[in-house]
């Protein structure tokens, strides 16, 4: 019997697509989201399609005071936890509005890192589990057009790498997922280049493969590894003058 999968940010397009892929392989699913009950159509859909058990659980990534209680109250301690929580924000507007900038920083770093810390401890104690964090290529280097979001993702990427290092000998696998552009609710207002834009299902399948293959870090689509290598290797003296 494949283990149970918890999706944090269960309404996210990538998160839901990932739920479908794991449910199709027979995993029971827990969808954790704000206003979780509004996901009942998705719950039924997953159950009808794949005959798996699907639970909805109320979860707010920013309510860190209750994260431990949240994890303890879950119907079952999951074998795999996937964090798809994120907020893109609006760089230009957020530069002028500190409280919304802070919201972006907290939603992409503080909340996700906090809840995964809780699962790290539980998995470590149990001696098994997989932790998947969806970060972003935006965290690979800060750029004028999205450094608020990017810096929080950079923090999250670093957190995941540290967590992996800590848990490597404890039987717990940590996977960092770095998508480039993905066609989701988050980006539906943007005009994305088709050749570089993945569908949520592609990300989901890549996550499934990487979980099975115990990979450390993956880029989706893989071409983003090359793009980010180039972007990271531009000397700062030049980089700071570029419009990216």
């Amino acid at each position: 019997m494949p283990g149970s999968v918890l999706i944090l940010g269960g309404r996210s397009d990538i998160g839901l697509a990932t739920a479908h892929v794991f449910a199709a392989a027979g995993h029971n699913i827990q969808l954790a989201a704000r206003h979780a009950q509004t996901l009942s159509a998705e719950q039924t859909d997953l159950a009808v399609r794949y005959g798996v058990n699907v639970d909805l659980v109320e979860f707010d990534a920013l309510d860190t005071a209750h994260h431990e209680a949240f994890a303890k109250a879950l119907p079952v301690l999951p074998d795999i936890v996937i964090c798809a929580v994120g907020v893109l924000g609006n760089q230009a507007a957020d530069e002028k509005n500190l409280s919304s900038a802070i919201q972006v920083m907290r939603s992409n770093y503080e909340g996700p890192a906090a809840i995964l810390s809780v699962f790290a401890d539980l998995f470590e104690a149990r001696g098994s589990g997989t932790i998947v964090g969806i970060s972003s290529v935006a965290g690979d280097r800060g750029r004028a057009t999205n450094y608020i979001y990017g810096s929080a993702k950079a923090g999250f990427t670093a957190f995941l790498s540290g967590l992996r290092n800590r848990l490597a000998r404890k039987g717990v696998h940590v996977l960092t997922v770095l998508p480039g552009f993905v066609a989701t609710r988050m980006t539906e207002q943007l005009d994305l280049p088709k050749a570089l834009t993945a569908e949520p299902k592609e990300v989901a399948l890549a996550i499934e493969r990487a979980v099975k293959g115990k990979r450390n870090t993956i880029y989706v689509r893989p071409v983003w590894a090359l793009i980010m290598l180039i972007i990271r290797s531009i000397p700062e003296a030049i980089f700071k003058r570029l419009r990216l």
Binding site: A41, E42, T44, D45, V48, R49, Y50, R185, E188
Partner: protein, 440 residues
């Protein structure tokens, strides 16, 4: 953005919206007339409204399945491909399927699709238990044969012109395997093909491919294909314990619009000749998997681009039984004399007529593809008048250019449809480029 149907003709500048919930959908409705769009597999302009085209593919959840009756309740944007991948492993197959699995439930109901089993089972209408629809006032209405039967009748085959289908209950059929036992029979002439259909009225599936390029004596030569769902016992021993799994086919994509010389009279002639000869050699019984049997074109994604930038037009008509043999011969003769050749020509026997504005009627249906050239539209007009002469009608899901006049002469039910549309207020909320063109 530029939007078109599967034939890439016509291309219209349209505003495409993709609502995620009922609230978004109601908002669009309050702004003005709209048309629902499924997966865009209708060939022409049925699923385009320049002001508001509503992509329904986010409404794609399955709601319930009853494993005793085979009834599936699902949202309109669910793809047939998903229905098959979920339910075939449990022993259920769509009761009616068009020649592609990349269609939505809503699109299948709105076009009242028919399959190779129309002569036995009728169109999908016969397997729809109820429909939930969003009406012009933004209210949801459930309709069935008992409840609001007029809405039910007109919605099936109504091409999106009665409201937005939100959910529906359809019945699947139980099958023992994912394979079809095919019997392939060459027919030297059109009349032979028709005789083969007539002699095999109980075959579950039947369809013929016609070599449109064969002239004179050979005119109408075809390959007639009969099929039955294979039972477990029909399968070779090594497949019997996994009757629903089939060998994986790798999808290929047609990556660019082909230059127009790719499909020319010579390449077509070669293709048709080879196809016919090869078919004659393979004549007889064979076992095909469901994907190869029902959806041969689906393994080449975007095959429509083979026809190049100008796109192509489908032409599908049905002639009443009595005039079919003669009428089809006149159609084929006109095509072969025009020098404009069809790549795919499919002949199908239909059973009894359904209701509403549904396309099928008892008789024979012919479907053709024409790449758009200078003279294509003229040829199609000539075919229109032949169909009218023989008392036939046209399939709206394939139509991209018929005139309002031809439509009204082919369709006695038009007046009743239009009356109901006006009376119910559908006409001021649900319109497509096609409905405007046809004046309905």
């Amino acid at each position: 953005m530029i939007l078109s149907g599967w034939g890439n003709f016509p291309r219209l500048d349209a505003c495409l919206l993709r609502p995620r919930n009922l609230g978004d959908l109601r908002l669009a409705l309050s702004r003005g007339p709209l048309i629902a769009r499924g997966n865009g597999r209708a060939y022409g302009d049925s699923a385009i409204n320049p002001a508001q085209t509503i992509d329904m593919r986010s409404f794609n959840r399955m709601c319930a399945f009853d494993s005793t009756s085979g009834q599936l309740i699902a949202e309109a944007g669910v793809l047939l491909a998903d229905i098959i991948s979920v339910f075939l492993p449990r022993g259920w197959f769509p009761a009616v399927t068009p020649g592609t699995k990349f269609v939505t439930l809503g699109g299948m109901i709105a076009a009242d699709v028919h399959g190779k089993n129309h002569h036995c089972d009728g169109s999908i209408r016969n397997f729809v238990d109820w429909i939930e629809i969003l009406d012009g006032n933004g209210n949801t209405r459930k309709c069935s044969r008992e409840e609001d039967p007029s809405l039910f009748e007109f919605t099936i085959g109504g091409m999106g012109l009665t409201g937005v289908i939100l959910r529906a209950a359809i019945r699947l059929r139980p099958v023992e395997s994912g394979y079809i036992a095919q019997d392939l029979r060459p027919a030297a002439t059109l009349s032979d093909a028709i005789r083969l259909f007539d002699e095999n009225p109980t075959a579950s599936y039947s369809v013929a491919w016609i070599d449109c390029l064969a002239r004179g004596q050979k005119m109408g030569r075809s390959l007639v294909m009969f099929g039955e769902h294979a039972t477990r016992a029909d399968l070779p021993a090594e497949r019997r314990d996994k009757p629903f799994s089939i060998p994986a086919r790798r999808a290929k994509s047609f990556p660019f619009d082909a230059p127009s010389f790719v499909l020319n009279p010579w390449s077509l002639a070669l293709f048709n000749e080879a196809y016919y000869r090869n078919g004659r050699r393979r004549a007889g019984r064979s076992l095909l998997d469901w994907d190869a049997y029902f959806y041969p074109l689906d393994s080449i994604h975007d095959w429509n681009r083979l026809y190049g930038r100008k796109g192509f037009a489908q032409f599908q008509c049905v002639l009443p039984l009595a005039s079919s043999d003669l009428g089809m011969r006149v159609l084929l003769d006109t095509i072969s004399k025009s020098g404009q050749d069809s790549f795919l020509a499919v002949l199908k026997r239909f059973g009894a007529e359904g209701g509403g504005l549904s396309f099928p009627m008892e008789g024979y249906s012919l479907a053709l593809d024409f790449p758009i050239h200078r003279n294509t539209i003229d040829l199609l007009k000539r075919l229109d008048s032949i169909v009218l002469d023989f008392g036939g009608r046209f399939y709206l899901a394939k139509d991209a250019r018929m005139s309002a006049d031809v439509f009204s002469r082919s369709e006695q039910r038009r007046a009743a449809f239009l009356d109901t549309r006006t009376k119910e207020g559908w006409r001021s909320h649900f319109t497509s480029a096609q409905s405007e063109r046809l004046g309905i």
